[in-house]
Amino acid sequence: MRFAVVVNEGPYTHQASDSALNFVRAALDKGHEIFRVFFYHDGVNNGTRLTVPPQDDRNLQRAWSELALTKNLDLVVCIAAAQRRGVLDAKEAKRQGKDSDNIAPGFRISGLGQLIEAGIQADRLVTFGD
């Protein structure tokens, strides 16, 4: 089956990102397809590469980036939510006149239409939030 996953909260403060990661891994292990993981609201904060979590704990951003790259996942950070919260790629940073970008590898910034499209194209949509 083809799944779409929505992550509504940022890393660490809520368990949402962890639960989503565990779900995605289990789905892939069972041979399902993950059509897209869409990060909305504070979920966009999963996509910054500037986090430095404690060494003895999991690194959520790195876990998502690695999963994206090894399993060819489409991780989309919503542009509107990202602009509000300061998650930018190089193109956005330039466009908005910011002195830096911070998007993590494996994530891409795109519009809310990607969420709707995921709902249309996937067989199931699962939401992790607060």
Binding site: V6, Y40, H41, A80, L112, G113, I116, I120, L125, G129
Partner: protein
């Protein structure tokens, strides 16, 4: 996208506006979603009923009063289901909600309400009738 049959999207709104961003950002999804021409319905239950309460003014708290955007939904999204029990438990009635209407092109553009009061059991049925449930 033209190849896929229309899916029924249900937006579940259960949180009050302003204290958190969920009401505003879910509305933003609805507005963008309109372009995809799916079968869209919004459900307002629990504290979500406050999202469409009349008389909102967020000036004093320094925020944008985005309530009027729901009125603009009128023609795009004609199915705003409001749970009766959620209203009465909060001391609200239909009269406390914003008048949200659409113009029916099949009936000489007469104005009709987009808000439909439903009871809890009916709302449960609506969930069961949808293809995709979006929660915020």
């Amino acid at each position: 996208m033209a190849d896929n049959p229309k899916k029924k999207f249900l937006y579940v709104n259960r949180k009050a506006p302003y204290g958190t961003i969920y009401a505003l950002e879910s509305l933003e999804v609805v507005l963008i979603g309109a372009a995809f021409e799916q079968d869209v319905a919004l459900a307002f239950l629990d504290d979500g009923v406050f999202q469409i309460a009349e008389g909102q003014n967020a000036t004093g708290i320094g925020m944008k009063t985005f309530a009027k955007t729901y009125r603009a939904l009128g023609d795009e999204v004609r199915k705003l289901y409001v749970e009766r029990e959620s209203l009465s438990e909060r001391g609200l009635s239909l009269e406390d909600l914003m008048p949200i209407v659409y113009e029916d092109e099949n009936e000489d553009y007469v104005q009709k309400p987009s808000i439909h009061l439903v009871d809890r059991a009916e709302l449960a049925r609506l969930i069961g009738d949808s293809d995709v449930v979006l929660s915020f």
